[in-house]
């Protein structure tokens, strides 16, 4: 999570509010649990989050409830942890995106479980059981998990520090866009280069990151490596490098 220890000093964006003239002051008041500030926060961000929910394809009859529940949980989280996100709008939109994605994934899983249970019930007489004790739920609630994710994040951050020294501003921009899964044609447009040139640059960037990653991962301790593999487990990746192919690799844009 993004944190700031200087909320009091940053003034943030200007607000059209007599009580809280800037977003930073609004956030400080929210952290104090002031009812008026929480009300202002809802008025300011509910329309944005509803709009974002619409763009994410969430049904109109679910949007209001989803946005309200999200804001409710976020405010409680911020107040109880006394955490101030550095960029509140980005933080809220990212939280909504995560919730929408999790909701979508859970509904698909629920549907698949129900379907499977119904089919199997006809053969085996098994009952449909609640999902509250799924393997994922149990593993996610293990206290060690967040620590592992933290180790993996630290490791990735160190890899980024290695790469940063050798990358130009355009390459960093490209890397960020790639991280966001922006289409390559759009990245090319943003960089002001042709699609072909962007493909070449992306290929070179991939090679550079590849080299740095091989060196970096070889320096990791076994437990750090395990944590990193766990971090990527759902993507099904393997951090064990394979021998290089003999023929020259073709230039290709993956994004």
């Amino acid at each position: 999570m993004e944190r700031s220890d200087n909320t009091g000093q940053r003034e943030g964006e200007e607000l059209a509010s007599t009580h809280y003239p800037t977003s930073a002051r609004l956030l400080v008041a929210v952290l104090r649990g002031e009812e008026r500030a929480i009300r202002e926060l809802f008025l300011l961000y509910a329309p944005l989050l509803r709009d974002q929910a619409r763009r994410m394809g969430i049904d109109s009859d679910q949007r209001d409830e989803m946005v309200t529940t999200l804001l409710d949980d976020v405010v409680v989280h911020l107040v109880e942890r006394q955490t101030a996100p550095r960029h509140l709008s980005k933080y809220l939109v990212a939280a909504l995106r995560n919730r929408a994605r999790n909701g979508h994934r859970d509904s698909k899983r629920r549907f698949a479980t129900r379907e499977r249970a119904c089919h199997e019930m006809a053969r085996s007489g098994e009952r449909v059981v609640a999902e509250s004790h799924s393997a994922y739920g149990l593993s996610a609630s293990e206290p060690g998990d967040s620590e592992g994710a933290c180790t993996a994040r630290t490791s990735i951050a160190r890899l980024w520090e290695r790469c940063e020294r050798s990358l130009s501003a355009d390459e960093i921009t490209m890397l960020i866009r790639v991280g966001r899964h922006v289409p390559l044609r759009e990245v090319a447009h943003q960089l002001g280069v042709s699609y072909g040139a962007a493909r070449v640059r992306l290929h070179r960037l991939r090679e550079r990151i590849h080299r740095e990653a091989i060196v970096h991962i070889s320096t990791l301790k076994p437990e750090e490596r395990v944590e990193l593999e766990r971090f990527f487990r759902r993507a099904g990746v393997s951090l064990a490098p394979r021998p290089a192919p003999r023929q020259t690799e073709e230039i290709h844009g993956k994004i």
Binding site: E13, S23, G33, I38, P47, L159, E164, L239, P241
Partner: protein
């Protein structure tokens, strides 16, 4: 040179890209400014009906969130404990039973429910049940009371038992038992202490706050534990 497979490299690139994004404060700030502008623009674009609807929703939302925060705070400070109850060694009114119970590390339980909503007289009630004090509670003058009414729900439900430390100095957010001017007693949360007035609030928003004078202090004691109902 050894190589990662494409999938691994793609995931690593995405993860490194995310780290780069977090480290790029200018870019993050631009995104934030855009979203903030969009939030204001969307808010300004609401028609009158939507604006009224949002105002109503925001007021309800803020009230609900504040209550939720208060409830969670109280539940954290007063975790539910197992009730250990026994017969009283001395049968007397509450006023006389308190010192005797204190000597045996107990607190008198009043079968008369302290009305969480309407309030009732306490001190002249006879009590024949004692609560054994939990080990972590220091010796002192305590009274245990059974709550009635739903004004303090969901923290205190009907028939739940609360342990009150007598003569304690309450602070804002504490749950207290207070004597009202009509001599009745209530259990409430101290919402504020401004000037010569104490605001006693309920968790259940259907009940309005009670304002009482600080002098003489209406607070009988502070709730320090709650116990599961029998």
């Amino acid at each position: 040179m050894a190589r990662f497979d494409d999938r691994t490299l793609e995931e690593l690139m995405a993860a490194v890209g995310k780290e780069a994004e977090l480290a790029d404060h200018d870019l993050a700030h631009q995104d934030e400014r855009f979203l903030f502008w969009l939030a204001n623009d969307l808010r300004a674009g609401l028609d009158l009906e939507q604006r009224f609807s949002d105002e109503r929703a925001a007021a309800e939302f803020a009230q609900r969130v504040v209550t939720r925060l208060e409830v969670r705070s109280a539940e954290r400070r007063l975790p539910l404990r197992q009730l250990r109850e026994r017969g009283a060694s001395v049968r007397a009114t509450l006023a006389h039973a308190v010192p005797a119970a204190s000597r045996e590390r107990c607190a008198t339980i009043l079968d008369l429910a302290v009305a969480a909503g309407s309030g009732r007289e306490l001190w002249d009630e006879p009590c024949d049940r004692w609560l054994e004090l939990p080990d972590d509670v220091p010796s002192g003058r305590y009274v245990a009371l059974r709550v009635a009414g739903d004004s303090m729900a969901p923290v205190l439900g009907p028939r739940e038992v609360i342990l009150i430390e007598l003569d304690a100095s309450p602070r804002v957010d504490d749950l207290v038992v207070a004597r009202l001017p009509d001599q009745s007693h209530v259990v409430k949360r101290v919402a504020s202490m401004k000037g010569s007035t104490i605001e006693l609030a309920s968790f259940n928003r259907d009940y309005e706050s009670i304002f009482v004078s600080r002098d003489p202090s209406p607070v009988v004691g502070t709730v320090i534990a709650r116990f599961t109902r029998e």
